[in-house]
Symmetry: C2
Subunit: 264 residues, 2 copies
Amino acid sequence: MKALLPVLQLFILATFVATTHGSFELDIADQIIHLLRPKPGAGGRHVDDNVSCLSWRLGVETNNIIDWTTVPAACEGYVGHYMLGQQYRKDSEVVAHEAYLYAESQNLTDDGNNLWIFDVDETSLSNLPYYADHGFGVEVYNSTSFNAWVLEGVAPALPESLKLYKKLLALGIKVAFLTGRGEAQRNVTETNLKNVGYDTWEKLILKDSFYSGNTAVMYKSSERKNLEESGYRIGNIGDQWSDLLGTNVGNRTFKLPDPMYYIS
Amino acid sequence: MKALLPVLQLFILATFVATTHGSFELDIADQIIHLLRPKPGAGGRHVDDNVSCLSWRLGVETNNIIDWTTVPAACEGYVGHYMLGQQYRKDSEVVAHEAYLYAESQNLTDDGNNLWIFDVDETSLSNLPYYADHGFGVEVYNSTSFNAWVLEGVAPALPESLKLYKKLLALGIKVAFLTGRGEAQRNVTETNLKNVGYDTWEKLILKDSFYSGNTAVMYKSSERKNLEESGYRIGNIGDQWSDLLGTNVGNRTFKLPDPMYYIS
């Protein structure tokens, strides 16, 4: 971990620079990410004879491995290198590209009812600077320290999602952010999104503190149901299967990679 | 490709040996697979600057890339090494292990109504000897030559699935095979399954030639609906998302890897 800290300091600095020069977000986001390549070939070996971290990650991404609380300790190095290396970026790019191809192929009627749902954490915004300092998911989730990070409002954009967002807007598709973040974090979330280049949206849906559902699947299904009943046709992208399963999932769903945590 | 042929001849020979010594299927299946490692480190690099085959494969496995007809030409070598190397086996092992952990955790009532659905091709049986001779999915699917291969009835078991099958039976769970193969291939499929160690099953469901549905999703959903209406509680494993999506998918589904072909 410690070897990564100078890289992360550069990353956070560059993020700050990026957020103060809004018109070049995409280019700068790309440059930032190039700073995030500590080693070539961060493609994935297994760490010891007992755990194939590559197989574990594939199991997670395909929803075969569910309800896990932390990344296996033996995979901290693997997940860290994956997240900071180029493979995470390439994997995200393929997903965003497929989403765009799908949206473009629909020959959408521009009746104002086409809406694309973006999850926030690890989809629109990246908490990688936080997780890089907390074992890339090996440490048990700590809501106090994570919320303190969120309240700083300095999460960078996931560059592939930001590019997709801009291209969908250019197709005349509206965007809604649907997040498990609570209403108490509305202001900081709005500011963070705007600072990194998400300039406009139709809705930013945060979880009401009175919401009584048990899981993200239930919460997000319920909110999407409201949107569909308002007449929206939905596309949907997120890093968690709980963004994409349940009811009213949208006409098509796209799963970004996230080997750092699991939300049911 | 040509460099792999001697390995495949050994594989086919060993498969034949295995099928004539039924009581040691599992051990021999493992030994066969060890012959299938042409190179160490078959873990996945990208083949050229434009195509990350690893990202393509992840996109396929996560159902982000759909409706594709052939593996990208640049990825033939990558997919071939993945399929013949140890990573495919490790990936499959993780899926089968998760499936078993799930089944075991259910503390099932042994009322005879617990049923696990296995797909056949690339789940119970492996057509890798055929695909290795046909570009690992780079060549356009040829039903004539593929059916000729099926009719030979010499497809080996996918060892991880065979192990899972035996462990589920030991838990008192019944097994049904549900396949897109047609009724005309019932006899050869039965014989092939039995020869490689699948000794017993509750049902072997093949596609009736009168079936009028358009997609595997519709066909398999309809058959699973029949099973659930007969009172079965279903678990479900397959290599295609069309085995696992639709209706009546089962209480939990497990996705085995298959970067060689796509069935909608």
